[in-house]
Symmetry: C2
Subunit: 341 residues, 2 copies
């Protein structure tokens, strides 16, 4: 029996969740009685992702909702500390679907992926939650498959300093695109221009409307819109999109925490400009995992791309860090570090 | 010199155009001095199409705007009555881009297509403006190429009793789809069910919201939405769409005559349901013309499909008929008959 601190889902929010009200930390006793093939994990990192806001709803969605009174859950990186599964001996480092908690029992070790050489690798464990994890695969596969980028084209990426946006922008440069980004602070915009080498970027909260900003940053129009934000940003993107443009519909975070969704009034451009707008879920692209791991892994090792993380320390910090990520307080991929290896 | 009655574009409308105010009939003298390769046409039929409303704007669009003081123009069927072009001898029946007028001089016979055997054919000339013309090609090619229909799926067609909608629905049945339609009157709904053999249809102006109507007509959800209307109908379609659904973005006529565009608030379904929404212009599908003419021509001759036209008599009736089409007063493809063959 161990004490297990967890972040518990308490209540359905209607707008932004509030730490302490909708999610709070509780310590529970965990009885560890492993059956055949089960493992006990000591969790090291877990990921904070926008889609989790969708799981805090009392409605059918593409992922099951969180259960009131249970720990929040999501991708994490962990160490096996007790095992009845030969494929996952004690000491193995794994990534998989774990809880926002210090320890997790995983029946049948279901869905756990061994990270070979992770202890010795120059790549930090947290990267498997970001640039080398689900957000990375999302960016990599959707840009290639839905975006159909051609050298010389212009791409606009919203939430560009975030987990997905950082990789989209840098991959865009590698593919010979002109890359334009938007983000919610001047620091993030500086990072896009000076570190990630975007061709242009703007703070969508300043200097006029988003459309005005976008027209200044992409006076020639855009061929691809990498959609992370929705609302006014999507409307602006459709306005400046060129004929045969593509909208990679990855997410619409500006609409996740409001009861008053923004109405998009210029979808007629989809007809007259022959736009393709296509949505997807990261898991649609499991078939790309091999190519993704190889390409992005080598780009990282060769320092051809960089990435930034925003690491909250300790499980106690996780509710606040999650809400902060939804509000744009994260600068880079939002993760929580629970323990050292 | 002949007297040439024409429908002249007088003024940019902001909402519905008004016959007499924005378009009016004028008689002008036409000096016929043909140069080499020119032809003089006696116009027999011309087409009234929703996209023409887009040409009545003082703004850049995918088709050039109408010129104030000039005749309205569009597709027509005509007889060559004077010719300096050996490919188009006197008596030839052609379709092409003509004016809303009794006679047209076509420099170089540019864009004219000979309709061989048209005098003897059982197919009426007006069909080349509808089911065998641009709206037909639109329906045929976009349903196949963008819709990717699979037998057993459900398609929802808006403006289903119109020029494009009629063919989409009947093709849908041929392809083994469950076909659901919406239209703006009970007569049209009866026609969809009883003549075109739709599986379900509703009058979108009655019996609750469009979403309520659509849920009753397609309780199993829809796989394909053939989008002719936009606005509230699009929002309803996204709401009931199934995973991996396709939106064939053909037109959004509910938005053409208003200064207050409807804001679509549920585009997030495009992400979570992995929807593809794709726009197009009929001319993108010229490559399909051969297959289209062959398939639809034989379906017509074999009475496997039917179609309905709404024929206004005489050029004087054309402004009113055009405005009526925009308002849904047409029942079937809207055409104007100017003269008998
Ligand atoms: N389809 C999929 O499978 C899939 C997978 C992963 C992610 N996604 C989506 O991709 C998007 C980015 O996710 P991520 O993991 O990379 O998160 P992230 O960008 O690292 O973090 C979220 C960011 O969204 C921005 N944001 C929040 N509210 C906003 C608003 N009202 N307007 C504009 N920006 C706002 C904030 O940055 P600013 O400071 O710039 O405002 C915030 O930092 C999200 O929409 C997410 O749902 C989808
Ligand atoms: N992309 C392309 O290349 C292309 C080519 C051809 C046509 N189109 C588009 O396809 C659509 C249908 O064109 P069509 O030629 O077949 O015309 P149509 O359907 O024969 O005539 C237009 C019909 O639209 C309906 N309508 C008008 N206002 C409406 C509103 N506010 N809400 C709902 N329905 C409304 C009316 O029928 P109800 O009585 O049912 O309201 C009217 O009869 C249009 O949007 C057009 O722009 C696009």
């Amino acid at each position: 029996m161990v004490q297990n601190k967890s972040a518990i889902f308490l209540k359905y929010p209607t707008e932004y969740p509030v730490a302490g009200e909708h999610i709070d930390i509780q310590s529970k006793e965990l009885t560890v009685e492993l059956e055949d093939n089960d493992v006990l994990l000591r969790n090291l990192y877990f990921s904070l992702d926008p889609y989790m806001r969708g799981r805090m709803r009392n409605a059918k969605s593409y992922v099951a909702g969180f259960q009131i009174g249970e720990a929040m859950s999501g991708y994490g990186v962990s160490e096996v500390i007790e095992s009845k599964n030969d494929a996952y001996p004690v000491g193995t480092i794994v990534s998989g679907f774990t809880g926002w908690q210090e320890y997790s029992v995983i029946p049948g070790a279901s869905g756990l992926r061994v990270l070979p050489g992770a202890r010795e690798s120059p790549i930090p464990l947290s990267a498997y939650l970001g640039v080398l994890g689900m957000p990375g695969l999302t960016a990599y596969a959707s840009l290639k498959i839905i975006g159909k980028p051609k050298a010389g084209e212009t791409i606009f990426v919203s939430a560009a300093a975030g987990a997905v946006g950082q990789l989209v922008g840098q991959m865009g440069k590698k593919l010979g695109l002109r890359v334009v980004g938007s983000a919610g602070s001047d620091d993030k915009v500086d990072y896009l221009i000076n570190e990630l080498k975007f061709d242009a970027a703007f703070n969508y909260k300043k200097n006029g409307t988003i459309l005005e900003n976008l027209k200044r940053a992409a006076p020639e129009g855009i061929d691809i819109y990498y959609e992370n934000v929705g609302g006014e940003t999507l409307e602006a993107a459709l306005e400046v999109m060129k004929d045969h443009g593509r909208v990679i519909a990855c997410g619409m975070i500006s609409q996740y925490n409001t009861q008053q969704p923004y109405g998009i009034r210029n979808l007629h451009h989809i007809v007259s400009k022959r736009i393709v707008m296509q949505g997807f879920i990261a898991s649609d692209f499991v078939g790309e995992s091999g190519a993704f791991g190889k390409d992005v892994g080598s780009w990282l090792v060769n320092k051809e791309i960089i990435y930034r993380e925003d690491v909250a320390e300790g499980i106690d910090a996780s509710p606040e860090a999650f809400v902060g990520m939804l509000q744009g307080k994260n600068f880079g991929k939002a993760v929580v570090k629970i323990a050292d290896l």
